[in-house]
């Protein structure tokens, strides 16, 4: 065994001395941690926004909206829940990169993460925070596109209406 040990030592130290291998700088790792953090925050914000859009789209078809199945199907932003799912999966993978993920019950962390995003998205819509987007701002047209039966009415009157 000692022969192999000497070889390992020699091989590793030769590579270090001849600079065949170099230590990565500290900023490289800080940048990595920062990127993961920004990615998680970004994915969270996008997911919350899209969940609120999905809730809005379903609700905006008004009472008996479920009955008007075809209309919902044709007008529903299918890409939004797909992006939400992809975002959540990526977020969970990124969360796993943090040290705390294995010390706690990771399933619990994931459930909290997903629940928080869904709850925040639904609350934004239910409490009417997205009304701002419907009435003005750069997202007005975007929201109205998914506003189902109310589109025509809103375009004519120039104001939004809420249906519960």
């Amino acid at each position: 065994m000692s022969k192999h040990q000497i070889n390992i030592t020699k091989n590793v130290m030769t590579k270090i001395k001849t600079e065949q291998i170099k230590m990565k700088p500290k900023w490289y790792f800080l940048l990595g941690i920062l990127s993961i953090f920004v990615a998680i925050v970004g994915l969270t914000i996008i997911s919350i926004f899209l969940v609120s859009l999905v809730t809005f789209s379903l609700r905006s078809h008004g009472p008996m909206g479920i009955v008007r199945y075809q209309q919902i199907i044709s007008n529903f932003p299918w890409w939004a829940p797909i992006i939400v799912i992809v975002g959540l999966i990526t977020g969970v993978i990124l969360l796993k990169k943090y040290d705390f993920s294995y010390k706690k019950n990771f399933l619990f962390i994931v459930l909290i993460f997903i629940s928080a995003i869904l709850l925040a998205g639904i609350l934004i819509d239910v409490l009417g925070f997205d009304n701002f987007w419907i009435k003005k701002g750069p997202m007005r047209r975007f929201y109205q596109q998914y506003n189902g039966i109310n589109n025509q009415e809103r375009n004519n009157s120039g104001r939004g209406s809420r249906h519960f």
């Binding site: 065994m1 192999h4 040990q5 070889n7 390992i8 030592t9 091989n11 590793v12 130290m13 590579k15 270090i16 001395k17 291998i21 170099k22 230590m23 990565k24 700088p25 500290k26 490289y28 790792f29 993920s101 294995y102 010390k103 706690k104 019950n105």
Partner: protein, 181 residues
């Protein structure tokens, strides 16, 4: 730097990072035998184990600045070897037989039946007959003498899971090794 033995691993790492790269030799010297033993156990192949350990030392040096000095260096380097060996095992698709269909009791009284020394002897004799999932924490605990907390850091498992796996591994050992005495 005469009395290097007085320095902790973390202190040496700090010097390697900031002042003297060649002091990495001390790290290699301190760990190569332990890591080689651990890798040989995991791979059951000396050549692959040597490759894994050498590659791990290289990776550890390249990524030394990512090591958090507040944590234990030994857990960090063992984790690198674990990952390296798992890559090799996956590459060669050499799966150890899984013995998950064994019946388990809760293992609470097992310590009464087997002393630590007895278990160490049995671990050395027949550990390779148990699936890696259970035998790896067992070997880290009895052969490498790591604490549950350290094993949790090396295998990235909750401490509770480490305890459960070690207990189950001991029960498996008891059942399997009785026939190989």
């Amino acid at each position: 730097m005469k009395d290097l033995k007085k320095f902790t691993d973390e202190q040496i790492v700090q010097i390697v990072r900031t002042k003297n790269k060649e002091l990495y030799l001390e790290i290699v010297t301190r760990y190569q035998e332990k890591l080689l033993r651990y890798a040989v156990y995991l791979t059951q192949d000396k050549t692959k184990a040597e490759d894994a350990v050498q590659e791990s030392f290289i990776k550890a040096f390249i990524n030394l600045n990512s090591f958090d000095l507040k944590k234990k260096f030994s857990s960090w380097i063992y984790r690198i070897v674990h990952n390296q060996v798992m890559n090799i095992i996956n590459k060669h698709k050499k799966e150890l037989p899984l013995l998950d269909n064994l019946d388990f009791d809760d293992g609470k009284d097992l310590e009464l039946d087997l002393t630590k020394k007895e278990i160490q002897e049995r671990v050395n004799k027949c550990i390779n007959k148990i699936s890696l999932m259970y035998s790896e924490p067992l070997s880290l605990y009895y052969i490498e003498e790591k604490s549950y907390e350290e094993i949790s850091d090396i295998l990235r498992l909750p401490v509770g899971t480490v305890g459960t796996r070690i207990n189950r591994a001991k029960i498996m050992m008891k059942k399997i090794c009785q026939n190989t005495k």
